[in-house]
């Protein structure tokens, strides 16, 4: 399988504070990689560097074979991002928001794309609704539609189901699984929901204090650390001293 994301020894310093201390990983086509770690472990900084919003202090990032540095615009056409911490303009209707982003991503057949995504994400009846008046679950699905408007090869998800009720959360997870299989995209999933990570991710990176302290598939990690589930593994690693594998 081809690696769509390759991260080689990236570091990020904010002055004297080393937020990310030289991490390397790759994500294959048709793979969801989980990025776990306590708050302040460097997950958001890593995602920021992958999106080109943050300049690594050193190291290299390749997306679909292209180096991010010097090819930012070409790469941004192939990736997208969803996070509960960013929103779409609240006063615009759902369709207006999706049309704006369709234009920004230079999509030719915007209406067809919006129709396709609204059908897949159960947004048909909401297209003319004001985005700011939607429920959290509806807003989340609209953000997901925006993140898929450009048919990204790489999707970065920062806590995509945070604050969703179990039904909507399950819908989003199922949708992501199906979409990934169908389009063979790579997904980086940063989440604090261990059940979600266990269900979706083929492999996991555990980060702490800017380094990767462990990696493997969920089952391997659970067995290796002698715990019942991933949540217990997470707690063990978060509370222990760093152990680089």
């Amino acid at each position: 399988m081809k690696n769509l994301v390759e991260v080689k020894n990236i570091k990020k310093n904010y002055g004297k504070n080393e937020a990310v201390k030289g991490i390397s990983f790759s994500i294959e086509e048709n793979e969801i990689l989980g990025l776990l770690g306590p708050n302040g472990s460097g997950k958001t900084t890593t995602i920021g560097m992958l999106l080109g919003l943050l300049k690594p202090t050193s190291g290299e990032i390749f997306i679909n074979g292209q180096k991010l540095e010097g090819n930012r615009i070409e790469i941004l056409e192939q990736i997208n991002f969803i996070s509960p911490y960013i929103e779409l303009p609240k006063k615009l209707t759902v369709k207006q928001n999706l049309t704006v982003y369709g234009k920004l991503y230079k999509i030719n057949n915007i209406n067809e794309r919006i129709e396709f995504l609204s059908e897949k994400l159960r947004l048909e009846g909401l297209l003319n609704n004001i985005t700011g008046e939607l429920s959290s679950g509806q807003k989340n699905r609209v953000s997901l539609a925006k993140a898929l408007i450009n048919e990204p090869k790489v999707l970065l998800l920062d806590e995509p189901t945070a604050s969703l009720d179990p039904e909507v959360g399950d819908f989003v997870r199922s949708f992501l699984e199906d979409y990934k299989k169908e389009k063979k995209i790579s997904i980086l999933l940063a989440s604090h929901n261990m059940n979600e990570v266990t269900r979706l991710c083929k492999s996991i990176l555990m980060m702490k204090e800017g380094i990767i302290i462990d990696k493997g598939n969920p089952e391997e990690l659970i067995n290796k650390h002698g715990r019942k589930n991933l949540e217990e593994v997470f707690l063990k690693l978060s509370r222990s001293k760093n152990e680089l594998n």
């Binding site: 920021g48 300049k55 779409l88 920004l104 230079k106």
Partner: protein
Amino acid sequence: MYGLFLRHFYLITRSFPRVLDLVYWPTIQITLWGFISNFFATHTTYYNNAVGVILTCAILYDFLFRTSIGFNMLFLEEIWSRNFTNLFIAPMKIGEILTSLVATALIRALIGLIPAVLLTSPLFGISILDLGIFLFFLFLSLYLFGITLGILVSAGLLRYGPSFENIAWSTMFLLAPFGCIYYPIEILPEVFQKIAYLLPLVYIFEEARNILINQTVDIQNIYYAFLWNGVYFVLSIVLFYYSFNVAKNKGTLINMGE
């Protein structure tokens, strides 16, 4: 009660722009109105033969204000709506972002300007069109300076984050006393005159008054206005790119709006 006082006291003391904001507005208002009062006290007959001069200058200044604030508003709207990150991860070059903001700011300013221009004639019997063909050059010059200020403030927002917002609202007022909008440059103290001559505003408003009062055109004023506009415009673009790079190093782009 004391708790609520403390909540705002902590906020003000933790933010230098907020402290500056408290001092800034009264100082600027007093300076501006001080110069205006001085002028009218010593030049009572200056506007006798050109009653529309003040109103024309007010419309010109408002166009500048709308253009600059309009540009800032477009940028701030993205921060307030927490859409900023979405915008900066879209495949748009910085030049494309700036160009679209510049064009949108013009449309916003024109929407505000046209009714004001149309109202002055029936209400006050004054037409800004009395400035003739040179009105176009004056407006173009003001538009250039307005978006230049907008780009400079946006560069500050990129560099320092949302705390720079207060500066966004106050740039126009800081320049107003030096712009010589309602009085000739001679009314300013010598040191202020030197500063004023480094701004395109003084040439624009001096020329507007010259055309309306003396019925003559001094091309040199228009030339200097465009010259300084060009200098500041290039500087603002360079600064915006610089701030974008600083923001990428500092992480402002990913935290903006949080």
